[in-house]
Amino acid sequence: METAPLKEHLKKQIIAFLNLTSVKPEDIKDDQPLFGEGEGLGLDSIDSLELIVLLNREFGIVIQDPKEGRKVLVNINTMVDYIEKHRTK
């Protein structure tokens, strides 16, 4: 399945949801770490909660296990993989 449109959509959602006003979708690499400074996008723990809410609202996904969340919220690729497998809408 073609994942590029979903990745583009997810990047736009992340930017809008987290108010990343200085970031454009093309600035976020598919394998770029979402968290941490330097190479990462620089997100933090509050952002992780916002991303969990985003997954719930946009794709009907409920993440209840924190360990599972850590595996999902790594980069765009890991999020898209998880969305494709678990989305309910």
């Binding site: 949801f17 987290l18 108010n19 990343l20 006003t21 200085s22 620089g42 997100l43 933090d44 509050i46 952002d47 909660l49 916002e50 969990i52 809410v53 985003l54 719930n56 609202r57 409920v62």
Partner: protein
């Protein structure tokens, strides 16, 4: 009461970081919105979550937490201050986030809610963010008494300064034009129905004013050495009777000023609302004719903590030793009521601020400086 050692102000005028009040920035769509700086030094992750009131409050506070720039005209301290408490006055901070959060609850049927707006949905967000970003664990309080929020913060700071000699406190007044509070106040008749430039604010004989916003912060303590200014007295009053306000002003002047002292400048919160004009005119009537009168709401607009802008302006006037012609309403020695003092000069140490919020909450704040103040010819 207390001494002011540093001030900053983010406002609809060029007040931050270096004040330049010669050019008057006028309202757009009947709103005087702040000129936001680039917020250098504030972490981007924190900044992007902040509402405008929080941004301007934190943005104005930040320079006061660091060593002042050399030659800065509005600071007198020469080393980084140790802040013992943060005291903010605000009527509506956090209101936008509260509305967003409640909207989420409805839109998502009380399901999973984003935490960002929730954690910043209370008025104490500004003081809390300043504390978190500066790792300050001292006294932290927010006063929310609508049009007297800043005055109550000022009173709190004055009591703390009295109880704790040599302690420094960060005092501020912050509010924003939010969609919710603007619409409510507009529908309630507090803003002009027709679009009006702030440059014509005092010429329009109609109800309502122009919406404004701003953040004025002050580093205060009990030490007179090198202070920019001293807050000598504060009085507040709830009344809808202009005569009661006038009597309060007369009592304030009679009891607070000592023999030989006089008011050198009356800084009026007149806001272009013809319903409130009797309050200001009745106060002006009891002043000696040789006392100059200036106004400030055409610069900052009407908002609940506009008196904080007035205190900042008083400090700036005392420090810069000049009065921008556009703020002058009456100059001494003139028989022409419209004389704006093109060629007049006036020595000034004592500035008395009178502000009224919605014709119900009134305050008098007396500021004393150490320099002579003169007006410059209009350009």
């Amino acid at each position: 009461m207390l001494h002011i050692h540093q001030t900053t102000c983010i406002s609809p005028q060029r007040t931050f970081p270096h004040p330049d009040l010669e050019e008057l920035h006028e309202s757009v769509n009947s709103r005087l919105s702040v000129i936001e700086p680039d917020y250098t030094g504030i972490p981007q992750n924190a900044l992007r979550r902040m509402a405008r009131s929080t941004r301007i409050g934190v943005g104005a506070a930040f320079p006061l937490l660091r060593r002042p720039e050399a030659g800065s005209s509005y600071s007198s301290v020469t080393s980084p201050p140790s802040i013992d408490g943060i005291i903010i006055g605000t009527a509506n901070a956090g209101m936008e986030e509260s509305i967003q959060f409640m909207k989420q609850i409805i839109d998502h049927e009380e399901g999973m809610l984003a935490p960002g707006v929730f954690v910043q949905s209370t008025p104490n967000t500004i003081a809390a963010q300043i504390s978190l970003l500066s790792r300050n664990r001292g006294y932290n309080t927010t006063h929310v008494h609508r049009g007297l929020a800043f005055e109550n913060a000022l009173l709190d700071a004055a009591m703390l300064v009295r109880e704790n000699p040599r302690h420094n406190y960060l005092l501020g007044g912050v509010d924003e034009i939010g969609a919710f509070n603007y619409n409510i106040d507009y529908l309630d008749g507090w803003y002009k129905k027709e679009a009006l430039s702030s440059k014509r604010l005092y010429e329009d004989n109609s109800a309502g004013s122009i919406a404004g916003e701003g953040a004025a912060l002050f580093l205060v303590n009990d030490r007179p050495e090198n202070a920019l200014a001293r807050v000598r007295a504060l009085a507040t009053l709830h009344s809808k009777d202009p005569a009661a306000v006038r009597d309060q002003l007369r009592h304030f002047i009679d009891t607070r000023l000592q023999a030989g002292e006089k008011i050198d400048l009356f800084l009026s919160g007149e806001n272009g609302d013809n319903r409130l004009l009797p309050f200001f005119l009745s106060c002006e009537d009891i002043l000696d004719r040789d006392i100059p009168i200036a106004r400030f709401k055409h610069m900052c607009g009407e908002y609940p903590t506009a008196s904080a802008f007035a205190v900042w302006l008083a400090c700036h006037l005392l420090q810069s030793q000049s009065i921008p012609p556009h703020i002058i309403k009456r100059m001494p020695g003139s028989t022409d009521p419209g004389n704006r003092g093109d060629k007049n000069t006036v020595a000034c140490r004592n500035i008395l601020i009178y502000n009224s919020h919605k014709g119900a909450q009134h305050s008098f704040i007396w500021i004393t400086g150490t320099h002579a103040l003169t007006t410059r010819p209009d350009r």
